[in-house]
């Protein structure tokens, strides 16, 4: 078991490192991730939502759908823990 | 950002990670993991992700560790690997 | 040649399927239940007979339920070949039903309601096969038949019945999934349709090796035809009650297998294509081997029903042999043998059942002298065996004669020999039974004196079928007319 784990770990790691070959350099302001969608958020957040914290505006509004489910996830976790552990009468 | 600090933090993070995995005392492992989370949090703060760093500080180093400790105290500290 | 859309084919199929409802509902009232059974069988025959005139005029009916795949629908179509088979099957079903009532009551069998219900479903499936308009519909009803006869085969519910049932389903479902289904899909990929079309659909669409692969797949895929080596289920299934055996052999299951093979040979491959590629020899070889081997094995069987079972295996291959000759006379013979054998073999099974009811004997060696106590039964048995052997003036003669002519037409003299030799073998395994019945002296003190004829409800059907063996020789015109429409449309 440990051997399989080690082999698959090494394999996955090697694959991931191989994959970084095509990556833009670290901190490159011209990386695709920094150029395609995100500048729009930064430029328009104040104008479109009146929220200067871009993280909050993206979290709460632009990608609010994700955040809604994120809240549901934590709610689920609470329910699961209650249903797994808590005695019914408590 | 300063790459020397960055590198130092990264090295420490890796050391903490490995230690977490190989400590036989689970309580100690959890505490080392808490340190790991805190170092991560520093790393992210340094990378400009303050929100994430804040969250990691409260969740990873705080609540998550508390949950681990609660469980370990209710079960066992021993681990065979 | 007009094929009208009509609800009648569906009605013919569904009547007995829907009939299971009143049968199941009258679970506690045997008289009512059996009245339903007979009524439904009569109704079914009436519906089918009502469609006969149109078919004889060269027309027919069709009904499309739903187009489930592009170009392939679940659809029914009444044509001469289907009509021919449906007429035989539905007529014999009436007799089998009546006989069942006598048999089941005489032996006070358990779970009769389930028995009649399964019977009705199986009949629906049989007519469905007869009236299928394409290979998919045929496959559907073919599977339905396998499943609905399972409770019949395992009716006894003891260990022997269980293992027989397992064998039955393994062979039939296994081959249909493993051989028929891939063949069907292959045909669909090649042609884009599965409709039965006079003259076949494969011509020009597939090369010789594919066609021969398909042919082998389909001949073995329809394992109900019991072509060796996939015949093992048939003797095993003899554990079933005798009406079931007669149903299996005479009316439905094995005939459905042969019918399916003939269907695909005539309407999917097309005799022309097979003749061009010289593939008839595949069929005739397989059939010849089965005929001879099965007849030889039959000689060694002491259990009457098992001997009849091996006889059936051999006789079925006559029909495939006829198709494989690819001559008009051969095909006529093959198709004709379908009904001739049906009437003959059902008589034999009904007789075997009657003997079992009356004397509780199932081994031939124990049947010495029974014939004198049960003259009607043995007389019918004698007539039917003559028909199967192929003696004039009985129906079997016509079909075998036609086969011989067909073989000579096709210049396949070896096949003539096969037919003749096997007829001799037939005689060799049938005559001892009759001889023992009438002439052998039974050992003293085995209670032979108390043996009476079976109940009259059993005797009537078997007398009727025996007389039909005779009648079909004298008036074969209807059968020949229908066959004519198939062979040279």
């Amino acid at each position: 078991m440990k051997r399989i784990a080690l082999i698959s770990t090494l394999f996955a790691g090697a694959l991931l490192i191989w994959g970084t070959r095509d990556f833009p350099s670290w901190g490159d302001p011209n990386a695709p991730a920094s150029r395609h969608v995100s500048p729009t958020y930064i430029e328009r957040t104040v104008e479109e939502t009146h929220i200067p914290n871009a993280v909050t505006s993206v979290l709460g509004d632009y990608r609010g759908y994700d955040t809604m489910f994120e809240t549901v996830v934590i709610f689920c976790a609470g329910i699961v823990v209650i249903s797994v552990l808590r005695r019914p009468d408590a | 950002m300063i790459w020397q600090i960055d590198l130092l933090l990264l090295t420490l993070v890796v050391i903490c990670g490995v230690t977490t995995i190989f400590l036989k005392d689970l309580l100690a492992a959890t505490l080392v993991f808490s340190v790991y989370s805190f170092l991560m949090c520093l790393l992210w703060a340094e990378m400009g992700a303050v929100d994430v760093a804040f969250t990691e500080a409260t969740v990873g180093a705080g609540v998550s560790t508390m949950l681990f400790i609660a469980t370990i105290l209710r079960t066992t500290r021993r681990s065979k690997d | 040649m007009n094929v009208e859309p009509s609800i009648w084919p569906l009605a013919a199929v569904l009547i007995s399927l829907l009939g299971t409802v009143p049968i199941l509902l009258s679970d506690r009232r045997p008289n009512l239940r059996e009245a339903w059974t007979v009524l439904i069988s009569l109704g079914k025959f009436a519906i089918i007979a009502a469609m006969l005139p149109a078919v004889l005029e060269g027309g027919g009916y069709r009904f499309t339920l739903a187009e489930v795949l592009p170009g392939v629908a679940i659809a029914l179509r009444v044509d001469a070949m289907g009509m021919y088979f449906a007429l035989v099957a539905s007529f014999l079903w009436i007799l089998t039903s009546i006989y069942s009532i006598g048999y089941m009551r005489a032996l006070n069998e358990h779970d009769q309601t389930r028995y009649y219900a399964s019977f009705a479903v199986a009949m629906s499936a049989t007519i469905g096969v007869a009236f299928s308009a394409n290979l998919l519909t045929l496959y559907l009803f073919y599977e339905m038949l396998s499943l609905s006869t399972y409770p019949l085969v395992t009716h006894k519910q003891d260990d022997e019945a269980r293992s027989a049932g397992r064998k039955y389903l393994t062979y039939l479902l296994g081959t249909s999934v493993a051989f028929t289904l891939p063949a069907m899909i292959l045909i669909y990929t090649l042609t884009g349709t599965l409709d039965f079309t006079a003259g076949g659909i494969l011509a020009g669409k597939a090369d010789a090796s594919t066609v021969s692969l398909l042919l082998v797949l389909l001949v073995f895929g329809f394992a109900k035809a019991a072509v060796m080596p996939l015949h093992g289920w048939l003797p095993a299934a003899m554990v079933a009650p005798t009406p079931v055996s007669s149903f299996l052999h005479g009316v439905a299951v094995v005939k459905v297998g042969v019918f399916s093979i003939l269907r695909v040979v005539f309407f999917i491959f097309g005799t022309g294509l097979l003749a061009d590629l010289n593939l008839g020899v595949v069929l005739t070889t397989l059939a010849s081997i089965t005929i001879i081997v099965a007849s030889l094995v039959a000689l060694t069987q002491d259990n009457l029903k098992r001997r009849l079972a091996y006889s059936t295996i051999g006789q079925l291959s006559y029909m495939i042999l006829g198709a494989g000759m690819l001559t008009a006379a051969g095909m006529t013979g093959g198709l004709l043998h379908l009904s001739m054998h049906a009437f003959g073999k059902i008589t034999l099974f009904l007789c075997a059942g009657a003997i079992y009811i009356a004397a509780h004997k199932s081994n031939i060696s124990e049947m010495d002298g029974l014939g004198r106590r049960m003259p009607v039964t043995y007389g019918a048995f004698f007539l039917a065996s003559l028909s199967i052997i192929g003696m004039p003036p009985l129906g079997g003669f016509l079909s075998k004669w036609s086969l011989v002519i067909g073989a000579i037409d096709g210049g396949q003299l070896l096949l003539v020999a096969v037919v003749l030799v096997s007829s001799l073998l037939n005689a060799a395994y049938f005559f001892p039974i009759v001889y023992r019945g009438f002439f052998a002296r039974a050992a003293e003190g085995n209670g032979r004196e108390e043996v009476r004829e079976a109940p009259v409800l059993c005797l009537i059907p078997l007398s009727i079928t025996a007389l039909f063996c005779l009648g079909l020789f004298l008036w074969p015109s209807l059968a020949l007319q229908l066959i004519q429409l198939v062979v040279s449309p």
């Binding site: 694959l15 991931l16 994959g19 970084t20 095509d22 990386a31 695709p32 150029r35 395609h36 969608v37 995100s38 632009y62 990608r63 609010g64 759908y65 994700d66 489910f69 994120e70 549901v72 996830v73 689920c76 976790a77 329910i79 699961v80 209650i82 249903s83 797994v84 019914p88 | - | 679970d27 506690r28 739903a66 187009e67 489930v68 795949l69 592009p70 629908a73 679940i74 069998e109 358990h110 779970d111 998919l136 496959y139 559907l140 599977e143 499943l147 409770p151 519910q157 269980r162 397992r166 389903l169 393994t170 479902l173 296994g174 999934v177 493993a178 289904l181 891939p182 899909i185 292959l186 990929t189």
Partner: protein, 498 residues
């Protein structure tokens, strides 16, 4: 057609219902069932309306929060998506009718917790089938998984261990998927599927793209229990409470396969998967074939009905993954059709299992003796489900198998075709073994021939029988409707230029 909000209501109804159940259920147990059924009926009606609208007016893309893609999160309510939404809501409604009854018996005092998780799971599945955003998929997958962990853990005995294993495997899968998405994000800077599909062909196909693709796919494979990553599934699914199994077993793997289709054809393209990496395609189809054979063989070794079915689920996953990777229209049609059909078949079988378990408890084979007499309706429906699994027409299982084999022949994947046929044969053996036991073996020492009334008919409550009969009827209904379904829905929905 103009966008409506109906599909969102179909999603939000179970979600809001879940909170209501959580609060109300603490005070009144009796209110739980009507609430659950009401919410799910509404959701089903909405999904049906959306489906019909899409059929008549075509699909549309919906932007949540009115932020145009790629800035906001986009949902795609197209033929495939709304078909899946209809499937999810239909199966959920049918399953819940039965679950209401069996949960009231099994988990009397935790009903409200159970149904809270249950409804959230349904909402998560609704979200999964609609979303057109790669990261949103991750969040929703986690919702579905966490609720499933909880539902499994509510089972008896070693369910907690099975659940924990599922947690570890499921998280591995999710992490892999997230890694892949991370790579894609670094390469493209977007998470919207359509936007990704636009950008990816402009990138040179290199190491990072291949890594991203393989990690996402492997992550999804773990989540859907594709052989040999299936080890968590049989335990998890057989230890669940019955009320949960009737929902989770039919839907979870199927929705994940749907996600794989979305991922492969909405983000990447057939050109990427099948032309640039044709060798991989061979391998995947081969593994699928091996998986089908192995899972079927393992199903043969089981002595418990429910465990047997769980292995069959693994085999069916092989069918669909193989079908997708056949890389032709027939295979894709077969795979999508099989998603629908397999959901219904699994629903029917698990409903039957749950109905049997209502009185019998454990489902070891020897306890099934004489079941045809005690539970004729249940066993009749079970038989229909079994026939569909074997692939006997006119049940729907036949038709999807037909398309899959057709695709296999077209692609020349004879190993896969052979595996399909082999597994049909094994299914026949498996189910007839069960049927034989239930049909022949007498539970007690009552001799055959005692006639009627010797064994008491003791069916499960009507609340559990009705959905079962509906599911069995659906198997035949969908089978007969295969033609229109394929022609008007699946052919239109075929992604990626097939």
């Amino acid at each position: 057609m103009s966008p409506t909000n109906l599909h969102m209501y179909a999603l939000a109804a179970p979600l809001i219902g879940a909170f209501a159940v959580m609060v109300v259920g603490r005070y009144s147990r009796r209110a739980v069932a009507p609430l659950v059924l009401g919410v799910l009926s509404f959701s089903f009606a909405a999904a049906l309306t959306v489906f019909l609208q899409v059929l008549s007016g075509g699909g549309f893309r919906y932007v949540v929060g009115n932020w145009l893609a790629p800035y906001g999160i986009e949902l795609s309510v197209d033929h495939l998506g709304s078909l899946m939404q209809l499937l999810v809501s239909g199966v959920a409604l049918t399953a819940s009718v039965s679950a209401v009854k069996s949960v009231a018996k099994d988990l009397e005092d935790r009903q409200h917790l159970f149904f809270t998780l249950y409804l959230i799971l349904i909402a998560g599945l609704h979200g999964l089938v609609l979303t057109a955003d790669a990261f949103n998929v991750y969040v929703l997958l986690e919702i579905a998984s966490i609720t499933a962990y909880g539902l499994i853990a509510l089972g008896k005995g070693r369910a907690v261990v099975s659940s924990f294993n599922y947690v570890i495997m499921g998280s591995t899968g999710a992490c892999f998927y997230l890694l892949g998405i991370g790579y894609l994000y670094i390469l493209t800077g977007t998470l919207n599927m359509a936007d990704l599909a636009r950008i990816i062909p402009t990138l040179e196909s290199g190491a990072a793209l291949a890594t991203a693709f393989s990690f996402c796919i492997v992550g999804l494979w773990i989540k859907m229990a594709f052989f040999p990553l299936h080890v968590w599934l049989p335990n998890a699914y057989s230890d669940m409470p019955d009320g949960a199994a009737v929902l989770v077993a039919p839907l979870m793997t199927k929705v994940t396969i749907y996600l794989m289709i979305r991922f492969m054809f909405s983000i990447f393209s057939p050109a990427y998967e099948f032309i640039q990496h044709a060798g991989v395609q061979q391998i995947v189809v081969g593994v699928a074939a091996v998986g089908i054979v192995c899972a079927s063989a393992m199903a043969l070794a089981q002595k418990n009905l429910r465990r047997m079915l769980t292995y069959l689920i693994v085999a069916e996953v092989g069918y669909m993954v193989g079908g997708v990777w056949l890389a032709n229209a027939q295979g894709m049609t077969g795979a999508i059709l099989h998603i629908v059909n397999d959901a219904l078949m699994t629903l029917c079988l698990f409903l039957a299992v749950s109905a049997i378990a209502y009185h019998e408890g454990a489902l070891d084979f020897h306890r099934l003796r004489g079941l045809y007499r005690r539970m004729p309706v249940t066993m009749a429906a079970f038989t229909v489900g079994a026939l569909s699994m074997i692939g006997v027409p006119p049940t729907c299982g036949f038709f999807s198998k037909w398309y899959l084999i057709l695709g296999g022949i077209e692609a020349g994947q004879w190993l896969y075709v052979g595996a399909l046929i082999f597994s049909s044969l094994v299914n026949a053996v498996l189910f007839f073994r069960v049927i034989e036991i239930a049909y022949f073996r007498m539970p007690d020492a009552d001799a055959p021939g005692t006639g009627h009334g010797a064994v008491q008919v003791r069916e499960a409550p009507a609340m559990m029988l009705q959905p079962l009969v509906v599911a069995a009827a659906a198997l035949i209904g969908v089978g007969l409707a295969t033609g229109p379904l394929v022609q008007h829905v699946i052919r239109v929905a075929l992604p990626g230029g097939f």
